[in-house]
Amino acid sequence: MLGAAACAVLLLGTHIGRPAGALDAALTLTSSPTGELGVTPTGTVLAVHNLQPGAAPVRGSLVVHNQTGIPLDVRLRARPMSGDLDSGARLRITAGAASLFDATLAELRDGTRRVVVQPGRSRSLGIAVSLSPGDATSAQGRSDDVALELTSTPVTPSP
């Protein structure tokens, strides 16, 4: 009796966390340099094949190098291939302690807040990807390849 109860609890626990037959979501983030900005790594920044709703974020990083001779305001924006995870995937992008972005993949199409990179210097950007806890069905089995596009403009002095 006790064994049967333990087994039932175990089975229930398994099913509450992840419905039987549920398919993971997959997301690949890539980046490439511009003339003004070098980037490391080039190509795949983060490839996640087992995104599950509510699971801990998967983390990666990207180093951006200002190759010009002037300070640059740098932003990242997403260019998803399919858009299948636009509402389900959540991204948080940081530069040190500063948060540049914390919202859905769809909103990343409009870009992050700016981060200043001095000439000849690099900044490391942290990237965390997760699935919204309430998106158990709509993101199931979906995948997307997202190009993280770097844009830069000369820093404009504050008025």
């Binding site: 490439s32 340099p33 511009t34 003339g35 003004e36 070098g38 080039t42 190509g43 190098h65 200002n66 190759q67 010009t68 001779g69 002037i70 640059l72 291939m81 399919s82 299948d84 000439p119 000849g120 000369p154």
Partner: protein, 196 residues
């Protein structure tokens, strides 16, 4: 195939399809499958540099023998493999009195227009020294894509791929010629990529 035969075959195919559609309409059960989300995108040819609008070399009120040297990093950001040529747009009358040397190389951490980390390519592409692509008067530099310097000038031109970066060192010197006095000139350099 003649036109007549084409039309006949089309009719046969249509008739067959119509028969199948009819069968689907009258069936009691139906099922379907779909393959959505097929993406299509065209490749790109794109190339950029790190000058942020600034000039790589400049001479102001120069004396004979005065030299200006600077380095510029050029990055290929397109998705299609490409070949690259370098050419210039020249203006003014000082070109015949300026010598120009263009050397291709690398820099692990390029910063416009510094050449502090520049290392010339080891290859002697055109017999002028390691990495040198051009050494002559500015006025004789190619001014069209057709005549442009194929990058690099070897038996097999370089195939540029996504993320590829090369650094070019430009060095301009005012020659010692009395005729150069008071003259001015300008040059804009273009790296043009075309997919292979």
């Amino acid at each position: 195939m003649s036109l007549t035969r084409k039309i006949l075959r089309s009719i046969v195919v249509l008739a067959t399809v119509a028969a199948c559609m009819g069968a689907g309409t009258y069936a009691a059960f139906s099922g379907s499958t779909a393959n959505a989300g097929n993406g299509f995108s065209a490749g790109t040819v794109a190339i950029g540099d790190n000058d942020a609008g600034a000039s790589v070399v400049s001479l102001a009120a120069a004396a004979p023998g005065q030299t200006s040297t600077g380095c510029i990093a050029v990055t290929y950001t397109g998705s299609l493999d490409a070949g690259v040529r370098l050419y210039a747009a020249l203006s003014g009358t000082l070109g015949p009195y300026l010598t120009l040397t263009v050397t291709r190389g690398s820099d692990p951490s390029p910063t416009f227009a510094s050449c502090a980390g520049f290392t010339a390519d080891a290859t002697n592409y055109v017999g002028l020294g390691a990495g040198v692509l051009y050494n002559g008067l500015l006025s004789a530099f190619p001014t069209t894509y057709a005549a442009g310097i194929v990058d690099p000038v070897t038996a097999t031109p370089e195939t540029w791929t996504t993320g590829e970066l090369h650094v070019y060192r430009f060095s301009v010197t005012l020659v010692s010629d009395n005729q150069a006095q008071g003259r001015t000139g300008a040059a804009g350099f273009t790296w043009e990529a075309r997919n292979l």
